[in-house]
Symmetry: C2
Subunit: 270 residues, 2 copies
């Protein structure tokens, strides 16, 4: 068995899950080990609206945007990520002959880390501190469980929430969770798929794709990145520095998105 | 490691999940192997109402009631069972020091069986046939996966849906799924907890509890059973006939419900 490939597929509108699952199934059929990490943000927004608890987002002082996760939002988040999205993907993979197992960060303590004591946010130009937010970050990954399952022929399909050190479900960034999983498995590659073709020099001009980022010159890439792409580039650089072979930021909206990313389509961080 | 105990806790109103989880945690701390199977019917009804797709139930010609499971209902069912309920229970167990792993019947092909081609139902006295229902029954359990996880110290927390032979998510009866799991593991005991104290001679008079049912005289018990209890008694008898040590139908609304059931409180089928 070779090293694992960790594939993260975002939860934004326009993602072609059928193409991602078909591509993963092809790789698994060739004997590759794949861990698939998924999001669910667009669907969480939709269900939260339908249940009368519309989504809210906060922007940190350093410019990162994140979901405001109060207790009711965490319930909806868990329903959508662990119920609807996770089992939809597991079902698609099963239909393609892949013996997938869906797991959240709570299951088997797969993803653990600290809950943020407070999130500092900027709302209407004012700095505020939110103390009841159920969010945090991943510091530890139970790679033993992932290896146990992959050794037995199963393909893990994972999503947030993670489990805080105080045993609460916490919302964590999916891209950085995938990076932590790739690090823990010393993965050959981490592929971060979303609805853009990679890092763009002139966002949103898709012809301005940056094909390669050298981790030694990461500041330049970070300066180019807009919005969500900042977190992806940051996670990619951290992952490579921690021993992941390479990270590819690539387009989920195409046929064979994983193979194309592994072949160098997108932005390769190395 | 001894034989497993399979505990099924219903999804009706009034169930004390904290008491069930604390009791399971105590057994696991003593080195017992426990598989916890859960329901989620009351919460599914609530969420389905909130999402504008109210629950419907159909009664079969033989008098069994079941949830009408069209595609949208299956999506809601999966959100609630695999997302909300499953991760709520996994979170409670993790907080009690149990390394729980939540799994549906889709994951690792844990629960497989045929989808019903049609459900014959009686509505307003008329016999009708419903062909698009996503329901079926469990015929195969992947006990290898459960054993792999329990050998490594994990406690499986399971729920429907199951995976049909055509790889669709199908709604299956939770009590009979638990019975199939207990059979596959040759469990020492199967404990079916719900919001009644067991089989009642004079339903709903709780003082008329039937303490023991001999499988050789199952017809008498079946004749006494009302509504949902028919399925429980049927599943219990089948399980004992297939090699499960004993089945106890017991009350989930008390402290230490599992230990009390194992000590003989409730209706023991043997």
């Amino acid at each position: 068995m070779g090293q694992a490939i960790v594939v993260k597929v975002g939860g934004s509108a326009g993602i072609d899950y059928d193409a991602v699952c078909a591509d993963v199934a092809g790789l698994v059929a060739e004997g590759r080990r794949v861990v698939l990490v998924h999001g669910g943000s667009a669907e969480t927004n939709r269900v939260a609206e339908a249940l009368g608890h519309p989504p809210q987002f906060v922007t940190s002082e350093s410019g990162f945007q994140s979901r405001r996760t109060d207790r009711q939002t965490m319930e909806i988040f868990t329903m959508v990520y662990c119920g609807k999205m996770n089992k939809m993907i597991v079902g698609k993979l099963q239909a393609l002959g892949v013996n997938a197992i869906g797991l959240s960060g709570l299951d088997g303590r797969l993803l653990r880390g600290p809950r943020k004591k407070a999130i500092r946010a900027v709302i209407d130009g004012k700095r505020i501190s939110i103390r009841d937010d159920l969010s945090g970050k991943v510091e530890k990954v139970n790679s033993d469980l992932l290896t146990l399952l992959m050794d037995a022929g199963y393909t893990p399909v994972m999503s947030p929430p993670a489990l805080s050190y105080e045993n609460e479900a916490i919302n964590v960034d999916g891209d950085r969770a995938a990076a932590a999983i790739a690090q823990a498995l010393a993965a050959e590659a981490l592929v971060l798929l979303s609805n853009v073709p990679g890092l763009l020099r002139d966002f949103p001009d898709e012809s301005s794709l940056v094909p390669r980022v050298d981790v030694a010159r990461a500041e330049e890439a970070m300066a180019l990145a807009q919005g969500r792409m900042k977190v992806k580039v940051l996670g990619a650089v951290e992952a490579v520095q921690a021993g992941v072979g390479r990270v590819v930021l690539a387009d989920a909206r195409v046929e064979q998105p994983v193979r194309k990313a592994l072949a160098g389509h997108g932005t390769t961080v190395q």
